[in-house]
């Protein structure tokens, strides 16, 4: 017996429905994969970062607790010294005073684009640098990178070639983080095959204070 037209129609509708359903599922799965498809390695890396970050936060808590105790116990004049110390610590963090310490110096002789410098700065910050300068310009919280290929500006000042990054922090940690496989440096070596990239550890670097015709003004 032959099926009726309506039955074939129904079958086709069912088939189309099934296909539409599949398309929908496929889309959602692909998007889900793109947004949350972290591999075990990625997850382990995230956990490692969080662990390190918590260690640093715990040290900050300890430091603040110590400060608290010191304020409570010290005589008046010592308390002032402590406030002065905190002001100096913050000045160091903020980049408004010249600083010294061990670290790395990264020299790149290539016509870098502003995004390259911006991404490198991000990488250096992420590696745990405590103070950074680019082409002699001290990096502060609102440092912007602009310009064009081969004539990048940092803090509004044109950076001369080759571009020199100086970063204070644990030299071996910075070195390892910057030179890691698949990192920014390996990317730059690939994108600028003729570029000279030199990464060197230093026992003592001297970074200038932030200077600008516009004073660094905090939001208030």
């Amino acid at each position: 017996m032959k099926p009726r037209r309506s039955q074939i129609g129904l079958a086709i509708v069912c088939l189309l429905f099934g296909m539409a359903l599949m398309m929908q599922l496929r889309t959602q799965n692909r998007l889900r994969q793109a947004t949350s498809g972290d591999s075990s390695t990625d997850l382990a890396s995230i956990a490692g970062d969080l662990y390190d970050s918590n260690t640093t936060l715990r040290q900050e808590v300890d430091q603040l607790l110590g400060q608290q105790v010191a304020y409570d116990r010290s005589p008046g004049s010592d308390k002032q010294v402590q406030v002065q110390q905190e002001v100096q610590d913050l000045e160091t963090f903020n980049g408004v005073v010249p600083v010294t310490g061990p670290g790395v110096e990264l020299t790149i002789d290539a016509a870098l684009r502003p995004v390259d410098v911006q991404d490198l700065l991000n990488e250096i910050r992420n590696a745990g640098a405590e103070a950074i300068s680019i082409g002699g310009q001290r990096v502060v919280y609102n440092t912007a990178v602009a310009g064009g290929p081969g004539r990048v500006t940092v803090n509004g000042v044109t950076v001369s070639m080759p571009v020199v990054f100086e970063a204070i922090g644990a030299p071996d940690v910075l070195d390892r983080a910057l030179d890691r496989k698949g990192g920014m440096l390996s990317y730059l070596r690939t994108s600028y095959p003729h570029a000279q990239v030199i990464l060197a550890e230093h026992n003592s670097l001297l970074l200038p204070a932030f200077t600008s015709s516009l004073p660094l003004k905090a939001a208030d």
Binding site: Q7, F17, D42, L50, E60, Q68, Y141, I168, G169
Partner: protein, 292 residues
Amino acid sequence: MRLSWLHRGSFTLGFLTQPTMLAAPGWPDRRAIAGILHRPATRLREQEAKRTLALTVLGLALGVFLVAQWQSPPASTADDPASRDAAIHRTIDRLETEQVQLKKQISDLRAKTTPEQQQITASRSASADLGEMLAEQRALAGTVAVDGTGVEILLDDSTVQQLLPSDDPDNYIVHEFQIRDIVNLLWGAGASAISVNGERFVNSTSVYCVGSTILINDTRTSPPYHILAIGDTAGLQKALDDGNSLRDLKTRSQVYGLVLKVVQAGPLTIPAFDGSVEMKHTDIAATTGQPG
């Protein structure tokens, strides 16, 4: 993983569209249908109705089969790697809870020491501008929340419902460099404070991604991204509107439906940075110091 998925998809599709499955000549006779329906084959007068019902049931079964087919890959990986992932997820959750607690502790401790410090700097023996200096450096460091006027930008994954097989899903989601580009543009346009999803941008802030997770200040974040910037509203808006700025991002927004818009301009509060500002390797250089 993704390749095998697509392969599996095309297999399913091919199987379904094979003509013999649904075309009349090869269609199983009513015994088979009756078998499906568990009804005796003698009730011939209900043939038509049964066949219609059978087709519907079969259609539904196919639908269920399809769903099962498409949901099976995640389920089939529920062996070692998945349980290991589950363990790491639990670790991440635990560390994240701890991170939230530590940040809260830092925030509370900073708030607690402030009045004490004010008392110290207000005392008669203190130098006149010590309190002012401390407030200024704290504001620069971002360890205090700040009120002001500015803009709020929304950056989110694309809202498109359907991707073509040729589409790259990467084009439809927010990437960490896009956040960096927006923040860099806002600093350049004179913003004085910025936060993204509650994370204040300070001198040590980095935005990076591991897999598909974006971390800001070592804190996991996810879309939608609310970028808050205090500054001259008109100036910030002008920089964002400039045809030469954020070109890649604007193109993706137009072509792939990535969400990028200023959702608010007006009064804003930008939260404090609750992370560490401790310096372990850096000392203030003597003003007469020479490079070592």
